[in-house]
Amino acid sequence: MIKIENGHYETKGFALDININIPDGKFCAVLGPSGAGKSTLLSIISGFESLKQGHVIINGEPAAVSPSARPISMIFQDHNVFAHLDVWSNVALGISPNLKLNAEQKSEIETALTRVGIAHLSNRKPAEISGGERQRIAIARVLVRNKPILLLDEPFAALDPGLRLDMLGLITELQRERNLTVLMVTHQPEEAKFAAQKIIFISDGKGQELISTDEFFRSHNHAILKYLGRPT
């Protein structure tokens, strides 16, 4: 469970109040206007940014450790792979930063690469494969890291609509298979509709309470209607 109670974040000219309580094993989409603080929320949970007030509680414990020590994997919008390393090494870094792996770990990598459909590309460099395949490397790394929480910061924004849907399908499958808690920032409400069970809506400097996806799209809340471009 991820919980932030009375959390307050502040930086130059920007403030965000957060109150969220995300149960385990849910797929949540983070929606809101540009610049509202959606990515900031993920950065706070993953430990790249700190709250001025309040704590991030993960599984009942305050998460005061470094990003690598948190039970979290994160996929960024870009730069998820190291261009000078091949696909296999990029995934292997998820297990060991010095790339010294035993047979079991090597087998885990093979399994992860097969699961995301890029086993045949394991010797290729990122520049030699497509954008979608590059994001699959990041997903394979999530699998080998085997953390219960997955944060997605618009990772498929640069992909074609069809490909985006494929990737989202893959993520939802993995979420169900592994009972992952997923938080996905997206600018596309239809992606949230497709994949998410819950929505966190951020606007006017506030991360509002978690609501179900159906409830969100039926909401008469002024800010939500304005965001969705519907008459208020």
Partner: protein, 498 residues
């Protein structure tokens, strides 16, 4: 690797080198009396005034010309444009003593123009400084103009902007942000210029840097030298603070490309104006280079000893400089910026003399002399090495900092798996640039060298001093060609970084 001790190693080494220079000098001056008591005499005021005057004039001419030439290069596509762009890279690669020789070969008493131009004094200093710095200004301004999006020019065309409106609304906002840093950099380089002022200046045309050298090495008046140094240090610090971060950006030394395709400036007046700017640029750079080739080509002489000595000094200096720069560039903070600019703040003449005093117990052993020269070259190349490595490090951090933090890739693993493979090209580029700078350096050899130690630049200086202009031309051409070839490789590496 991010603990405070490792962060402090490189600035600590640089601080140690500076203290090793300053402490013996200050204690020597206090022993003899006179330090700070000597006060600011009128001669020092004159030297300061001349330093500021020549630096101001050199900067103004270089930057104004740079603006017009870069504007012409940004908005024109013409036959020979690539050649002109390549030509602009040449002065940046030339050792100062070779520039002096090239300028003497055309404007000097025995020069191709027949000696109608008084080269010694302010005229010559300005000419040499502009020859050096206007291409640097041009390159930096072109890079700045390249940041204007193509769409802005299309919008300007759609709205039928005049040339003046384009300058006012598109170019000037970019220049306004960039010019103070470019001016600050060039002013600092001119104020701290040594070889050019030493060879083309005179009793009434002396800068602080040369006056310090003369006080120490000719008059051995340490107190006066220290007073001059204090003025120089304050001046340089003031300039660094005023100009903010120096504009020693990678682009100044590496790639040079104009990416935005412009269609403005089609009026006859604009075309004539650009033609005039490009002609002046060509006339400024072309003739000295032609004179250097003409005077040197028939007297090419390869002095193996000088060449080996130069390489033996330049190679370790470049390796050390890049190692220090690597350590500094990883931590982008004010202390590392100041440490990188150490020899622009504390004059090399002061450091060299302090080291000389500290190490004199070794009785001028050739090894100690060579080590001191390598150390001084290391510090002098540092601003350039840092300027190549720091942006590359910043880019890696921006791209992969979070991913590395999440995957716990740090220390040796990060160095081996991420930093070294990704920094291969900037490292090679910084190494080449430092090597070229050290190879062409005359300052350290002049300040610390002994009779038996001959490098290629000091050989040229000796040959010029003995009125063997032809031999000097031959040696200079070889050195310039070597430096230019290495710079071209560095530029290609820089382009790949982009």
């Amino acid at each position: 690797m991010n603990n405070p001790i490792t962060k402090a190693i490189a600035p600590g080494i640089i601080l140690g080198a500076i203290l090793l220079g300053l402490v013996p000098l200050i204690s020597f001056a206090i022993e003899r009396g006179g330090f700070l008591n000597a006060g600011i005499d009128p001669a020092i005021v004159h030297v300061l005034w001349f330093t500021l005057k020549q630096a101001f004039l050199s900067t103004s001419i270089s930057v104004v010309l740079g603006i017009f030439v870069s504007r012409a290069l940004s908005r024109r596509q013409f036959l020979g444009r690539e050649l002109l762009l390549s030509l602009l890279a040449v002065p940046l690669a030339m050792p100062a003593i070779v520039v002096v020789l090239a300028i003497t070969a055309i404007y000097g008493a025995q020069g191709l123009l027949g000696g109608g131009f008084n080269l010694y004094g302010l005229n010559g200093i300005l000419l040499a400084h502009v020859f050096f710095n206007f291409p640097l200004a041009t390159r930096l301004i072109v890079e700045a103009l390249n940041t204007i999006p193509q769409e802005n020019f299309r919008l300007a065309e759609q709205l039928n902007f005049s040339g003046r409106a384009i300058f006012h609304n598109l170019e000037w906002p970019v220049l306004r942000n960039t010019l103070p840093r470019i001016c600050g950099l060039i002013f600092l380089l001119c104020a701290a210029s040594f070889v050019i002022v030493l060879t083309l200046g005179g009793p009434s045309a002396t800068t602080l840097e040369v006056a310090i050298y003369q006080s120490l090495r000719q008059d051995f008046d340490v107190a006066r030298a220290l007073n001059l140094s204090l003025v120089q240090i304050l001046l340089c610090l003031a300039l660094i603070f005023a100009a903010g971060k120096m504009a020693l950006h990678n682009s100044a030394l590496s790639s040079f490309k104009t990416t935005t395709i412009r269609r403005d400036g089609q009026s006859a007046a604009a075309k004539a104006f650009d033609l005039l700017a490009l002609t002046i640029a060509l006339l400024l750079i072309g003739p000295p280079l032609i004179a250097l080739i003409v005077s040197g080509i028939t007297y090419l002489n390869f002095n193996l000893q000088a060449c080996v000595t130069s390489i033996a000094i330049a190679l370790p200096a470049a390796l050390l400089s890049v190692s220090l720069a690597w350590a500094l560039a990883r931590h982008d903070n004010f202390a590392t910026h100041v440490a990188a600019l150490a020899t622009l703040i504390v004059p090399p003449a002061v450091l060299a003399t302090g080291w000389f005093l500290a190490l004199r117990r070794f009785d001028e052993s050739l090894l100690v002399v060579i080590i001191s020269i390598i150390a001084l070259n290391t510090l002098m190349a540092l601003p350039f090495s840092v300027s190549v490595l720091a942006p590359a490090f910043a880019q890696i951090t921006q791209m992969h900092g979070r991913l590395c933090a999440q995957l716990n890739i740090s220390g040796w693993n990060k160095l081996r798996r991420i930093d070294l493979p990704m920094m291969r090209r900037p490292l090679a580029q910084a190494l080449l640039m430092s090597f070229v700078l050290s190879l062409g350096d005359l300052t350290a050899v002049t300040l610390l060298g002994t009779q038996g130690l001959v490098t290629m630049p000091s050989l040229i200086h000796q040959q010029m001093g003995h009125y063997r202009g032809n031999d000097a031309g031959g040696t200079a051409l070889l050195l310039a060609a070597f430096c230019f070839a290495l710079t071209l490789i560095a530029q290609r590496l820089g382009k790949s970084n982009d």
